[in-house]
Amino acid sequence: MAGSTGTESATDGSGRLDRRLLVERLSSYWLGGAGYFAIALFALIVLTLLYQSLPLLSEYSVVQMLTTSNWDPAQNEFGFLPAIVGTVYVTLLSMAMGTPIAILAAIYIAEYAEGRTKTLVSSLIDVLAAIPSVIFGLVALIVVVPLVGDYVAPAFGSDTTGLGIFTVSLVMAIVVTPFMISLSVESLEALPDELRESSLGVGATKWETIRSVLLRAAGPGIFSAILLGFGRVFGATIVPAMLIGGQTQLPDSLFATGQTLPTLIVNDFGELMSLPLTQSALIFVGVMLVVVVWLFNFGAMLVRRRLQRRWQY
């Protein structure tokens, strides 16, 4: 051992150990801090936003603001109902358009595609999930807006420029589909092959296998993919701001212009920053967004647990 060969190497060795232990101790402080950082960041955001929306909350009742439809910050009228209705329309409509296609495409990638086609299609969809949403907005202005304005809306007996709730929903469906597909494919591919083999083995067709066995077993994962897509559409800012037309009124048809909660912030923040109450109102919109996303996440977690117990295989 080092002790018998000489003091120098002994102190050297323990010095190195000391240094390693010092690095270990210092790094554990840093990493511990990084672990708490996520919680601290979340708390800081929520508390700051809440604190800044207190001036508004102390003057008006929440229920009243959520259920009235007069939005005129210059006159101190803060009715969030038009924006809330617009958000609900956009979210429901684009999920209705996007979800079936996303699930079917995920089934194709996970169960039908093979070999090179599979790698190609799935990596293409992964890549496309990263395209900036402002580009979708721009392309929609070039292609979708004239299409909706000239053909789709007249076919339903509406007369619009093409900007409006329907256009936003269609484009948002396109934006979130790749995102939902890649999450759903993940949970379908995580299923063991024995499930497919045994179902096909007792005489089920491929589609029967997919419908009654695989979709059920992967159900919790697909469900949370859909909910995450929901959250995406709900908080989308740039595409709605470019395409919704920005009029704060209760939409009277699906092709009407309107406002969603995030676009309310975009359209009104710049000009009205000087009015403290308006600023507070728009920050309160931020609080609503965070709270709803939080509820979604929490609900998704609970439902996933329940489904996992119920749809066990």
Binding site: G35, I107, A130, P132, I135, T177, P178, G231, G286, M301
Partner: protein, 288 residues
Amino acid sequence: MALDRYARQRLFGWLARGAAALVVAVMLGVVAVTIYRGGRVFLTDPAIAVTPPGSRYMLEGDGGFLHAVLGSIFIVGPATVVSMVLAVSTAIYLQSDYSSERFADAVNMFLNVLWGTPPIVYGVFVLTVIIAVGAQTSLFFGIVAIAIFQYPIMTRYTDEALRSAPETVKEATYGLGATRFETALMTVRAALPGVVAGIVMGFARGIGDAATVLFTAGRSTNMPGGPFEPATTLPVLIFDQAMSFNAEVRSHAYAAAFVLIVAVLALIFASKLLAGRYARFAPGGRHS
């Protein structure tokens, strides 16, 4: 029922194929329109990407959009470095033996909520901070906002990569008498392809996001003057100019979209390439 089970199997098989084809076609269409419309503007006059904007840029589109290109680089570059350090640290903390399982679960829950939080909320938050400290919107706060936006994304990718690193790496390093920190470094090394891919992905998401920088960086139409001067980025420029009444200003938005989409696609391609290169550090060889 009109359909027997085999007809139904065929029907749904074709539906699934059709859905996938539709998605791919729409996506390729989006890319194609961007490249065609933007490329036409950009390739006839590539100099607009390196020309500073003129004095009446938003009205007449004189000059180019060098300010937005530089703004994007100076905002997203530093933001990526900051949130990379934080994200890798958080992921290590969650994956290695620093925390109890319960605490890691709690942190994960908060990270998931942050991950799903709309980017506009980060923008509003940073703007609130700006007002509270009495500063003005600037390049610096753009960096802060983008860093906050990227942090949960990168943490998620890094965490997933570390989770997929083989347990044997950890056991072997501990068996050799390594400290927790040394073990964590070896785990990161073993998961390096995934970690690098995640960081590049975060960079790509950051460079494409407009909602966070819309209110924080200042929407400037001049060249960025310094860290505490207003700046702008490419997505904000596209957002502001896409609906302009002046065709020249609008065409700059198309050209900027071309530059942006080429940059994002190149980044993703680079991440795949890097992931392949770093695969030699992963135990078991060359697969990504």
